[in-house]
Symmetry: C2
Subunit: 311 residues, 2 copies
Amino acid sequence: ATALAAEAEDLENHRSDHLVRLLNPNVATMKEDVLYHFNLSTGTHDFPAMFGDVKFVCVGGSPSRMNAFIRYVGAQLGLDQPGAEYPNICAGTDRYAMYKVGPVLSVSHGMGIPSISIMLHELIKLLYHARCSDVTVIRIGTSGGIGLEPGSVVITRQAVDACFKPEFEQMVLGKRVVRSTDLDEQLVQELMQCSADLSEFATVVGNTMCTLDFYEGQGRLDGAFCSYTDKDKQAYLRAAYAAGIRNIEMESSVFAAMCSACGLRAAVVCVTLLDRLEGDQITSPHEVLSEYQQRPQRLVGYFIKRSLGKA
Amino acid sequence: ATALAAEAEDLENHRSDHLVRLLNPNVATMKEDVLYHFNLSTGTHDFPAMFGDVKFVCVGGSPSRMNAFIRYVGAQLGLDQPGAEYPNICAGTDRYAMYKVGPVLSVSHGMGIPSISIMLHELIKLLYHARCSDVTVIRIGTSGGIGLEPGSVVITRQAVDACFKPEFEQMVLGKRVVRSTDLDEQLVQELMQCSADLSEFATVVGNTMCTLDFYEGQGRLDGAFCSYTDKDKQAYLRAAYAAGIRNIEMESSVFAAMCSACGLRAAVVCVTLLDRLEGDQITSPHEVLSEYQQRPQRLVGYFIKRSLGKA
């Protein structure tokens, strides 16, 4: 009981300091912490010196997109040096890529819940070891839209599962554990305001369905497996629309669950590459898709600039 | 009923031809099939010409490891040209990397079930469009061992879930679908024979637990979250050992389920980087881990060489 009380007090202190907190008392007692998939360790790297000033972490699936983002943000914040390259902080591993400019960290997470969850465990520990405070984490990603013009950007109100429930279910020691997928409502409003200021593309607030599979798991008709009809698919997607779902991707639920549990302000901003009511294949020309993928970057870049009083 | 009978006959023909089959009648009627995450399309690439001779597909998480593997196999089969590079067939995307030498294709799949499942949907369609026959698919990966000396190689008898059941559960249109995770028993024996011939490292046949998370999902005490004790963890891992489980990774169940359903002979060969009964962190020196990771490559490289009558 004493240990629990101490832990509760500790968590309360972290909360009031706006520090990143862990939900694991073991880490504080470890002599060294190897963040294996980042190829970083507290034994060989000075985390407070490297990362102590981080206030914004942006994450996305593709390493090259996260490299493009850090270059974009560096230029927007006037922090870039002409001709300077941003080194990959996770050099030595190809599991994830990480870049930093000023208070902004940009990290890739691969595709799917397990891939982003490994990254988030190690990212949250990194921020904890670096004693970061007041950190905002934003996922900038791609998604399939429902009933939206392709290229529209969705800011997630709630991340929901394949049954449209705002829950993230996980197996821990062989037992089901369910966590809520709350996101920061105020941050949603701030991002919407940024989109209105920019006025460059359509942006909506909606629920985001997070699935474990891109093909059958999202009702696609064009995978290696498909045991349902177009009519079944349409009924499922229309029911999703009726439940307030405007896009589908593969990381938002665990992202929301982990960030909110650790006291991180978090948002999910995804562009829609196609309207799933119209089709399954992503057939737009490369240039068009490429411009779409810059939209969450432009919105979040502007948000960071404004938050730092530079816009 | 007629359509179903035709489909059943079609599947039967595929089976007797040893062709790769799809469990989706829609694909045969599509004018073009864009394999989005490979950046390949039947409209722009000649799949039979590019891939028609493929007999072995090796898959693994890391792109650089799969590049190292193709170079190793090229040299082993005497198919390499001095100084020649293997181009990444999926250039233009950084979702996956793909390399080919002779009848061997080497493809990265990232980390976790969703990431490998996207890759497998597109790989199986690629093999189908290329009209490949008699294809063997082998995952060469890394894992955590249970009760084994680090560096031991595990050939998977059965892929099991976090409750130790040989099942892969998936959500399709919001409903649970369960598939079996059978692997080819004869292929397991052939690989064991290869390991005995090589006699370079310890190899065992055992069950492999496939989880959706690396930290809590595998009972680690060192993640950002941990709500159980070391005693709980030990009990869980010892129960896993008693159920015949010798290693834990994050892709085998969907790999087994999808390959077997499509008529592909499949195996999982993973090295163990640590003994989870002894710890959670991967702290071995880089050179040691690097040599461990070559072991599945050496075993599978030898298997391919022998299968082609070159060993």
